[in-house]
Amino acid sequence: MKSICFYFQVHQPNRLRHYRFFDIGNNHDYFDDAQNAWLCRRVADKCYLPTNKLMLDLINENKGRFKISYSITGVVLEQFEKYTPEVIESFKALASTGCVEFIGETYYHSLAALKSKSEFKNQVKLHSDKIFELFGQRPSVFRNTELIYSDYIGEIVGDLGFKAQITEGAKHILGWRSPNFLYKSSKNENLVLLLKNFQLSDDIAFRFSQHSWEGFPLTVDKYVKWLNQTQDAECINLFMDYETFGEHQWKETGIFEFLRELPKGVFKKTDFGFSTPSQLVDNLKPISEIHVPYPISWADEERDLTAWLGNDLQDDAYDQLYELEEEIISSGDKDLINDWRYLQTSDHFYYMCTKWFSDGDVHKYFNHYDSPYDAYINYMNVLSDFRIRLSNLISKNP
C-alpha cells in the first residue's frame, strides 16, 4: 500500500527579554517569561488545542486508519507544562490512540550536532526521556533541528540507536531521484532516511492561502488529484510546522476544513493510506544510499544552514557559546547548564540572519527584534553576563 506520512513539528523558543548593557553583571534573569507565556497561550488557542482536537476526531472517525507523527521540543513542552497544561493533556490523549508516533530530536532545538557530539547526544537523550515520561513512547525515529542532516550527523544518530532519520528532499542532494521512496545513509546502512516531499508539503504549509499561487484556492479534490499524479510513489512525506494550522494559516483561510476533509478524500479517491514514520521503515525497503557531505536543512531556497549560521554575527555568537562547553559541563551547576542550553536554541541565531533584509515579511513574522543587529547585541549582552557568572563560579570552587 502507498502511504502518506504526516510529521508535524511543534516548537516555541524560550525568547530572551530585552537585556541591556547595564544589566550585565547585575541581572541573571534572561528570559521574557511574560512574552513567552502570552505567545504560548495564543498559539495554544489558535493552533495546538483546536488542531489536536481535530486530529483526535479524525483518528476516531477513521478507526485507526488515519495516522500522524509529531516532534515536540523539550523547550516547548516545558512551556506547555508552565502555561498551558491542557495542551500536554491533549497530546497525551492523542498518544493513547496508538495512531500517533513521537519522534526524537534535541531537547533544546539546538544546532549542537554541528559543533559538539557529546552535547548533541546529551540533548537527544534528555528529549527521549522527556517524551517517554509524558507519552510513554521512546522515539525510534529522529529529526534534527530544522531537518539538518549530513553523513556525519547520520552516523551519530545511527550510533544513538535510531532506525531512521527525517530530513529534507533537497533537490541538490536527490538530483533526478524522487523523495517518494525510502533511502539510507551512505555511512550507516542501518539508518533509513525519510525525505520530505517539499512540493506537496509546502502547498499546504506555505502556499495554502497565497492568492498569487496558481493552485489557489487549494481544495481536497485538487490535492487528491496531485497525489494521484505521483506515479510509482511508495510514500509521500508531508513534513511541516504544526503551527501551519491556525497560526501560519489562520482559521479564516479554511485550513481546518481542508484538514478535516483530507483523509476522507484520500480514502475515497486514491489508493493511499496513512503511515507513521516507523511503519514506513518496517514495511518498505530503502531503494538506495544518499550522500550528503555538507549539511542540508529544510530552510529557504538554498536548503542550507545560512538561516542560522554563516554571517559574522551568527558565527561569533555561536562560537562563543560553544567555547564554554567544557567549563560549563564540568562546573556541574544545574542552573548554568540549563541557561547555557536554552541559549543554544536555533531561533536565537535565526533572529541574527541578514539574508532577508530586503523582503523580510516571512522572517519578520517570527522575529520580535527590530533588526538582526539588535538580536545580536541582546544575545551577546546575555552571553557576557553568563560568562561572568561562570567565571565567578569557577573562582569560587576551583
Binding site: R20, F21, F22, I24, D312, L313, D315, I377, M380, I388
Partner: protein, 426 residues
C-alpha cells in the same frame, strides 16, 4: 545692547551640542548687561528664561503685506528632504530638490492664518521650515527693537539675512558646524549654498574653533578678517558623582555620541582591537546610535572582539551619567569636530580623555591626550597608558577637572561683546 538671536534649539529640547552652547552663550551675554530675544522655531514652555526671552516662531504672524517678504517668498525654491527622519548631522541624508512654482504654495502654508506651526525638528520638512522661519524673522525684525542680529548655524542663517535686510542692523553668524563636518567631502550642495549665503551676507562670522575658522576661510571663501574664533565655554556642566555599580572587574573605555561618519566610530573599534591584543582586562563600550551603528556591530562581530566590546544603543538622561560613572577612559575619535563638548563633560566627571586633533576642543585643552583620528596606533597607546599607569590617569583626572572649570562662558561673552562693539561702531 539688545540682541536678536536666532537658533534652532534651546535646552532642554536639544539633539546635540548646539542647544547647550546657545544656552551658555546667552547666559553669559546676559550677565554682561545685554538683552537677548532668542527665536526658536517652536518653544515648549519649559525653557529657562532667566537670562533670555524665548520667542516661538510658531506664534508669530508672517507679514505678507510687506513687499520684501512677498518677493522673498515667491522667489525661493525649496527642497524636500526625502526621508522620514533626517538626523541633523547624519551622513546618509537623502535630499530631493523640488523647484516649486510660485503658485503652488499651499502645502503646509496657509495664507489666511499667517502663522506656521513649526516642528522645530530635523524632519522631512526641514528646508521648508528654514524658509518659513526666515519669513517670520522679517516680521520680528519689523516689530522689535534691537541693535544687532546673531544667528546660530545654517538653519537660521536665512532668517538672519532677512532680519538684516529689514532692519539694516549688522548680522553676526555663528558657525558651530559646517557641512564638511557633517558629511565629509560628500556635501549636500543645498546646505552648503545656504551656509555660504549666510556667510557672504554676514557682517562678521564667529567660528567655534580655529579648526572651523580655517574651514570657513578655505572652503567658503571668506576673508580672514571677517572670521573670529571664539571658543565655547565649559563651566556649565554638573559633574556626575553617581556611585559606581561594580558589574565588571575590567576597566571600561567609552565612546559616547552619535554613531556617524563625523564621530569616527570605526577608528575607536580599530584602536580597541589593538588594545585587546595586548590587554584583555578591559571592556569597550560604544554608546549611542546613528546611521553607522549596524556597520559597527558587524565590524565588531567580524573582528571577534565582542567579548570585550559592548553596544548600549541610544542613552539619555540618567543613563548617560551611569555610563560616565562606569567609565575609566573616554575617547572622542572624531574625524571632524568643530568643537566637541562631550570630552569636557567626561573630564568634569573625573574621566581622563583621548581626543582627536581634528577637533576644536583640542585647541583649548592641555590635559587631554591628543591623537590624529586615523592614527589608531597612537590612540591605542593612549588608551593603554591611561588604563595601566595610574600616575598618568590620576594627573589627567585632577588637572583635567580644574582645566574644564577654567574654560569659562564668561570669557566667551567678553569676546562676543568685543565683536558686537566693533561692528556697531562702524
Amino acid at each position: 545692547m539688545k540682541i536678536l538671536m536666532f537658533g534652532w534649539e534651546f535646552p532642554p529640547h536639544i539633539t546635540g551640542g548646539l542647544g547647550t552652547a546657545c544656552y551658555g552663550i546667552t547666559k553669559a551675554l546676559a550677565k554682561t548687561g545685554n538683552e537677548i530675544v532668542f527665536i526658536v522655531p517652536k518653544s515648549y514652555g519649559d525653557e529657562p528664561e532667566d537670562y533670555t526671552r524665548i520667542l516661538s516662531a510658531s506664534e508669530i504672524d508672517i507679514d505678507l503685506s510687506q513687499e520684501y517678504i512677498r518677493q522673498y517668498w515667491e522667489n525661493i525654491s525649496y527642497i524636500v528632504v526625502n526621508s522620514k527622519l533626517v538626523p541633523y548631522l547624519g551622513l546618509d541624508d537623502y535630499y530631493n530638490v523640488i523647484n516649486q512654482g510660485s503658485n503652488k504654495r499651499e502645502i503646509g502654508f496657509n495664507y489666511s492664518s499667517k502663522r506656521y506651526e513649526f516642528s522645530g525638528k530635523y524632519g522631512s520638512t526641514l528646508f521648508d521650515e528654514v524658509e518659513k522661519y526666515a519669513l517670520v524673522a522679517g516680521s520680528i525684525a519689523k516689530n522689535t527693537e534691537f541693535d544687532i542680529i546673531h544667528a546660530h548655524d545654517w538653519l537660521t542663517y536665512k532668517a538672519g539675512v532677512v532680519a538684516k535686510a529689514f532692519s539694516g542692523k549688522k548680522l553676526v553668524i555663528h558657525v558651530h558646524a559646517t557641512e564638511f563636518d557633517r558629511s565629509g567631502e560628500n556635501i549636500n550642495q543645498a546646505v552648503y549654498d545656504i551656509e555660504r549665503y549666510g556667510m557672504d551676507n554676514a557682517d562678521h562670522i564667529i567660528a567655534v574653533s580655529d579648526y572651523t575658522r580655517n574651514i570657513v576661510i578655505n572652503r567658503y571663501g571668506q576673508s580672514p578678517d571677517k572670521v573670529t574664533t571664539i571658543h565655547n565655554g565649559a563651566d556649565s556642566f554638573e559633574s556626575v558623582n553617581i556611585e559606581r555599580e561594580k558589574n565588571f572587574n575590567e576597566k571600561i573605555v567609552t565612546f559616547l555620541g552619535r554613531i556617524t561618519f563625523q564621530k569616527g566610530p570605526d577608528y575607536f573599534i580599530e584602536a580597541a582591537d589593538k588594545v585587546l591584543k595586548v590587554d584583555k582586562n578591559v571592556r569597550f563600550v560604544m554608546a549611542g546610535s546613528g546611521d553607522m551603528l549596524n556597520r559597527m556591530i558587524a565590524l565588531v562581530a567580524k573582528k571577534r572582539i565582542s567579548k570585550h566590546f559592548h553596544f548600549t544603543g541610544f542613552l539619555k538622561g540618567q543613563d548617560v551619567n551611569r555610563m560616565f560613572s562606569l567609565s575609566d577612559v573616554y575617547v572622542m575619535p572624531s574625524v571632524s569636530e568643530p568643537f566637541g563638548i562631550s570630552p569636557l563633560e567626561a573630564m568634569s566627571s573625573n574621566i581622563p580623555v583621548v581626543i582627536s586633533k581634528q577637533s576644536g576642543v583640542s585647541e583649548v585643552l592641555k590635559y587631554a591626550i591628543k591623537v590624529d583620528f586615523w592614527d589608531t596606533d597612537s590612540m591605542a597607546d593612549a588608551i593603554y597608558g591611561l588604563l595601566n599607569y595610574p600616575s598618568l590617569s590620576k594627573m589627567f583626572i585632577k588637572n583635567g577637572k580644574e582645566e574644564v572649570e577654567s574654560i569659562k562662558w564668561d570669557d566667551n561673552a567678553i569676546s562676543l561683546n568685543r565683536v558686537y562693539n566693533n561692528l556697531i561702531r562702524y
